[in-house]
């Protein structure tokens, strides 16, 4: 195995190119576990942290561009980002321990392509877009389209994610992410739910995106859940419909972390709770 | 003679008696006497037992004295963590 720490995107792409066993290292909190357990035996590991811009959080057209090597802890410490996308930042902040927060990244969480990845439902709800660089140049791909199944991504050989864009959104908008875990910390989500929504002056939902994690082979955007609450004030009846839509959309499995029935039910519970938080945040925007 | 209380399933190996009398002044004499009088007990004695004498538990002290009026209870060999 070789370790390379290129200083430019071009060098990184070159290092990755032509290597079937090449792996990108950003925060490393998944990669090193796989390396250790011999799940992977890379030819080369390409550390992208020394590339210019990878550690940056930059405002871009009213949204935020987050470099691929920005850690969860760095996001949590960025007040303007937290103010705009509290749900995404909180979701990233749920990944692992304080120690893991010092390293783990949005891009890494996404590329690990686990259906239970905490930050991915939040990014999907946010309508985030991944900027991918590779031998054929740069392309943008919606975050929802990056995972293709457990452990599989839409990235071509030699490509890597350079940054993630959290787009601009209007006034009276809010987002939230909640997950269920057996303990209070340190677990993988049994169910996760992200919601991003906007309200009009009468508190009716004008736009909504609802996503679920850990209830299917990949994170899912639940259009029917969003439809269930659009143009409505989120009263009990609307929340019931939201919860029902999420429970219905969930296609989970029984495994060591939870049962099918439990995950279906809790998907609805979390959607309700996340929606209430998101609405409060949306109202807080204009308060 | 010392009266020895056996645990329930041990009685099955001692002709059904829950209480047996053994001539013994020490723990060693007691264990030897039990094996002689009730050969069915030998496998369990070989695996090791603990003995409660007047509420205190003994494992291997052969020469621990036993008074004729002592309360003697055979126990499964105790294991700790």
């Amino acid at each position: 195995m070789r370790y390379e720490a290129p200083l430019s995107v071009e060098d990184a792409v070159a290092a990755l190119a032509g290597q079937s066993g090449a792996h990108v290292l950003a925060g490393g909190t998944d990669l090193l576990v796989k390396l250790r357990s011999e799940m992977i035996e890379p030819e080369v590991i390409v550390d992208i942290k020394r590339i210019d811009g990878m550690k940056d959080i930059r405002a871009e057209e009213g949204g935020w561009r987050i470099g691929a090597a920005v850690s969860g802890a760095e996001m949590s410490e960025h007040e303007a980002l937290v103010a705009d996308w509290p749900g995404v930042v909180e979701a990233a902040g749920l990944i692992g321990s304080t120690q893991v927060q010092g390293r783990a990244t949005l891009a890494g969480n996404l590329c690990n392509a686990s259906p239970a990845a905490d930050s991915v439902p939040a990014m999907v709800a946010a309508g985030a877009v991944a900027r991918i660089v590779g031998p054929n140049g740069t392309r943008d791909l919606a975050v929802i389209d990056v995972p293709q199944g457990p452990g599989k991504t839409a990235l071509e050989p030699g490509e890597f994610i350079a940054s993630i864009l959290l787009p601009a959104r209007g006034q009276r908008s809010g987002d939230a992410y909640l997950r269920f875990i057996p303990r209070t910390e340190m677990d993988i989500a049994v169910v996760g739910c992200g919601i991003s929504l906007s309200l009009d002056e009468e508190d009716r939902v004008t736009a909504a995106r609802v996503s679920l994690g850990a209830v299917g082979p990949k994170v899912m955007l639940v259009e029917k859940a969003a439809e269930a609450i659009k143009r409505r004030v989120l009263d009990e009846a609307a929340l019931d419909d939201l919860a029902a839509a999420c429970s219905k959309a969930a296609t989970p499995i029984d495994d060591k972390r939870g049962t099918v029935d439990f995950r279906r039910h809790v998907a609805g519970v979390l959607a309700r709770r996340a929606a209430v938080i998101a609405v409060n945040r949306a109202k807080g925007d204009t308060a | 003679m010392v009266e020895v209380v056996l645990w329930g399933s041990l009685a099955d190996q001692a002709e059904g008696a829950r209480k047996v009398e053994i001539k013994a002044a020490t723990l060693r004499e007691l264990l030897d006497g039990l094996g002689e009088k009730f050969p069915g007990l030998r496998p369990e004695l070989k695996r090791g037992v603990s003995v409660s004498i007047d509420g205190r538990i003994y494992n291997d002290s052969w020469f621990q004295p036993i008074a004729p009026d002592s309360e003697v209870v055979l126990l499964k060999r105790l294991k700790g963590g």
Partner: protein, 749 residues
């Protein structure tokens, strides 16, 4: 053992205070050396190849490619060990599989190589041909007559005919007549309970470093609860004389019973023997979970008869414990201890020891007792609540006391159960208000506590300070306790005594650090060793003063004439006597070697408040209080620490911890990610109340405290969750899916 010199009411000067522990600085600065921290020149890395199957015949092992790899210095399989004595045959087989691999993770071969990378590569080059066999991991399945069989010919004479060969033993305890008792009852609660296997979860993986010369002399550095046990077991397996193997105990990073047996050590020694080089072996976390000694999973049926006033008229329990791949689950301990807190006329327990395709269960803190207590204390609680009775009052009404005939046979001397119940009843926790979705539970627990072989050597240095050598690894602060007891007895300051854990070459045989025995048994030996030294120092003073040694007594750190008739001499301090030791006969020491019998049993009552999230089935521990009898708390901070640690391990066992095997018999959660031990944010502070009912078997009244604290929590939490949920929880862990399902079933039905 003469203990008539016990001073019943004693003013302690050191015992009962809270000095800094002697190993504190080493442990907060990173200097302390644990199992994996040792290195030797020329050291090799040892690694183990493990079975990927739950049950398989090993048809062939070809190690030739691994042996040919550059950097590989030795490869070991079972064939290298040959025949071993019968009493270590199962241990041997567990350390390195013979004809069959009996569980996922069972060791089948090992290598020693020049680097971890080479060792990893070498393991991949070992070819093992398996014939996969049907397997069974569930205790109730393993009992069935058509279950896959692990071993033939191991069933004891105690098992009735016609049962599966996986049923190894049956035992029965109790007195009175259950049927008569049940007839006297106004209500009978009859329930079945199940508990999952859990792991001790010590943070330090097993590790050792072995060397062996061509002359057969060997040294072993190892993290263990008992280096004398390691010596004796390894010597037997390797066909060595015990005296030729010197074992040194490293600092130990937790054990809780899981380090009372060997796993790596005989293999490391064999690799060292074959390679002629030092070999270090360190387990990964996944190896620890797959292939060390978790506790039993259990299936328990209970019947409790109770009058409407709350008197228990009959108590019956049938307990089935699977102990993994070899005989010896702790079911007997469960069957003997479950009803021990109560004074019952009619009580009977039946225990079944069952083998399954899982790693061999090792001891885990009060082995066997927490599961039995979970089932029995749950049933008592259900019966009491069924009559609308106060569960604490019911326990007080039925509680064992001095003179009670225990369910396991003997009559109790002075015991502390009722003191813990009274303390619980008068504690503000018991009367604090509860909110919505909250519930409170109580439960009692019992543990035997042990003594066993113990040696202590206490030496007086020329400058009059004191060193204590003992042979029991210090797992929770025992060096502090020994130092305190030596200082107390000698009448000198705590900081003038230093206690070390001596290697196996320095003392005689010492029983393992287990059974809550160390503060009791090693403490007793330390006190006796100090007394021996005092006697000698009095003799030296008598020589100097020219009086009879009987006329000299020891008080406040100095020899003094025993009375006015003895003569008028100023006291001679320990330092003064030490300074002239060479002139009065030579170095001064005291030592004591004993099979310490007479440990006092211990009781606890735990009280816990929980809050349920009715939408997710999640349980939050709101408040927790431990009431336990310590006999005499030598260092109260570490007594509290034992109470708190045991309670929190119990919380994990009750709520989230479990071994999860797939249908393929493979362990699915071999890591701290999915084997979920409690984290700091899961918990409240754990309040403690120390009761002190002296143990008449110890000079200072000490009882062991380490194990009892894990016995009540499973039941206390189950009782609290059941109260909050309004539905009885009978299966552990009470994980959120299970609690939610129970809530929904109740709502539906």
């Amino acid at each position: 053992m003469a203990l008539d010199d016990t001073k019943k009411t004693r003013d302690f000067k050191v015992v009962g205070t809270r000095p800094d522990r002697p190993d504190g600085i080493d442990k907060v600065t990173g200097r302390a050396r644990f199992g994996a921290d040792m290195v030797l020149p020329g050291m090799l890395t040892g690694r183990i190849l493990r079975s990927p199957h739950a049950h398989a015949r090993i048809k062939r092992i070809d190690t030739s490619k691994a042996e040919a790899l550059s950097g590989v210095k030795a490869v070991v399989t079972r064939a290298d060990f040959g025949e071993v004595p019968a009493d270590v045959a199962d241990v041997m087989d567990n350390c390195m599989a013979g004809d069959k691999a009996l569980y996922d993770g069972h060791a089948v071969a090992a290598v020693a190589a020049s680097s971890p990378a080479v060792a990893r590569k070498a393991l991949k080059l070992i070819e093992v041909e398996y014939e996969v066999l049907p397997h069974v991991t569930d205790v109730d399945e393993a009992i069935k007559p058509d279950a896959p069989v692990l071993h033939e010919g191991r069933q004891q004479e105690t098992v009735p005919g016609g049962m599966s060969a996986n049923v190894i033993a049956r035992s029965e305890f109790g007195h009175g007549d259950i049927e008569v008792g049940l007839k006297q009852a106004d209500r009978v609660v009859e329930r079945s309970y199940r508990t999952a296997a859990t792991h001790q979860g010590y943070i330090e993986p097993h590790a050792c470093l072995a060397t062996m010369g061509p002359d057969g002399k060997a040294d072993l550095w190892v993290c263990t609860q008992g280096h004398y046990m390691v010596r004796n077991t390894c010597a037997a397996i390797l066909g060595m004389e015990q005296g030729q193997l010197r074992v040194t105990a490293s600092e130990i990073g937790g054990g809780f019973g899981g380090k009372t047996v060997v796993f790596l050590e005989p293999v490391a020694l064999m690799l060292a023997r074959k390679s002629g080089r030092p070999v270090k072996m360190v387990m990964s976390r996944s190896e620890v979970l797959r292939a060390t000694g978790p506790t039993s999973s259990t299936s328990i049926d209970v019947k409790i008869g109770m009058t409407k006033e709350g008197r228990i008229t009959a108590g019956f329990a049938e307990l089935r414990y699977q102990g993994g791949a070899y005989p010896g689950s702790p079911v007997d301990m469960g069957a003997m201890s479950g009803f021990a807190p109560y004074d019952l006329e009619n009580v009977k327990t039946v225990g079944w020891d069952v083998v399954t395709n899982r790693p061999k269960a090792a001891a885990y803190r009060a082995p066997g007792a927490p599961m039995a207590a979970f089932a029995i204390e749950s049933a008592i609680d259900e019966a009491a609540r069924g009559f609308g009775l106060d569960p604490l009052e019911v326990r007080l009404m039925n509680g064992a006391d001095e003179g009670t005939k225990a369910s396991y046979g003997p009559t109790y001397p002075a015991i502390g159960l009722k003191a813990t119940l009274e303390a619980a009843k008068s504690h503000p926790h018991w009367s604090a208000p509860l909110g919505e979705n909250q519930g409170r539970g109580v439960a009692c627990g019992f543990w035997f506590n042990f003594g066993g072989d113990t040696c202590v050597s206490l030496n007086i240095t020329p400058d009059g300070t004191v060193t204590v050598s003992e042979g029991n690894p210090d797992i929770g602060g025992s060096r502090a306790s020994m130092t305190m007891m030596a200082a107390e007895e000698l009448g000198i300051p705590y900081d003038q005594v230093r206690t070390i854990i001596a290697d196996t070459g320095s003392l005689g045989q010492n029983e393992v650090t287990d059974g809550s025995r160390v503060t009791f048994a090693v403490g007793l030996a330390t006190i006796k060793a100090a007394r021996a030294a005092k006697t000698e120092m009095c003799r030296r003073a008598a020589m100097v003063w020219g009086i009879d040694e009987e006329a000299v007594e020891w008080e406040d750190g100095a020899a003094r004439p025993a009375g006015p008739n003895a003569g008028k001499f100023p006291p001679m301090t320990l330092k003064e006597i030490a300074a002239i030791a060479s002139n009065t006969g030579g170095p001064i020491a005291g030592h004591h070697e004993v099979n310490a019998e007479g440990a006092g049993v211990s009781f606890a009552t735990h009280m816990v408040d929980v809050e349920l999230d009715p939408d997710t089935g999640s349980t939050k521990i709101l408040r927790y209080t431990v009431f336990q009898d310590a006999g005499k708390a030598v260092h109260p901070s570490y007594v509290e620490g034992q109470f708190q640690g045991g309670a929190v391990q119990g919380i994990g066992w009750a709520l989230n911890e479990e071994y999860i095997y797939g249908k393929d018999g493979i362990l699915q959660n071999a890591g701290f990610l999915d084997y979920r031990i409690p984290v700091a944010s899961d918990l409240p502070m754990i309040d403690t109340v120390i009761l002190e009912i002296p143990n008449p078997g110890h000079p200072y009244g000490v009882r062991g405290v380490g194990e009892t604290s894990i016995v009540p929590p499973l039941a206390a939490i189950a009782n609290a969750v059941s109260a909050a949920a309004g539905v009885r929880m009978t299966q552990l862990p009470m994980s959120p899916p299970r609690v939610l399902a129970a809530l929904q079933a109740q709502a539906d039905g």
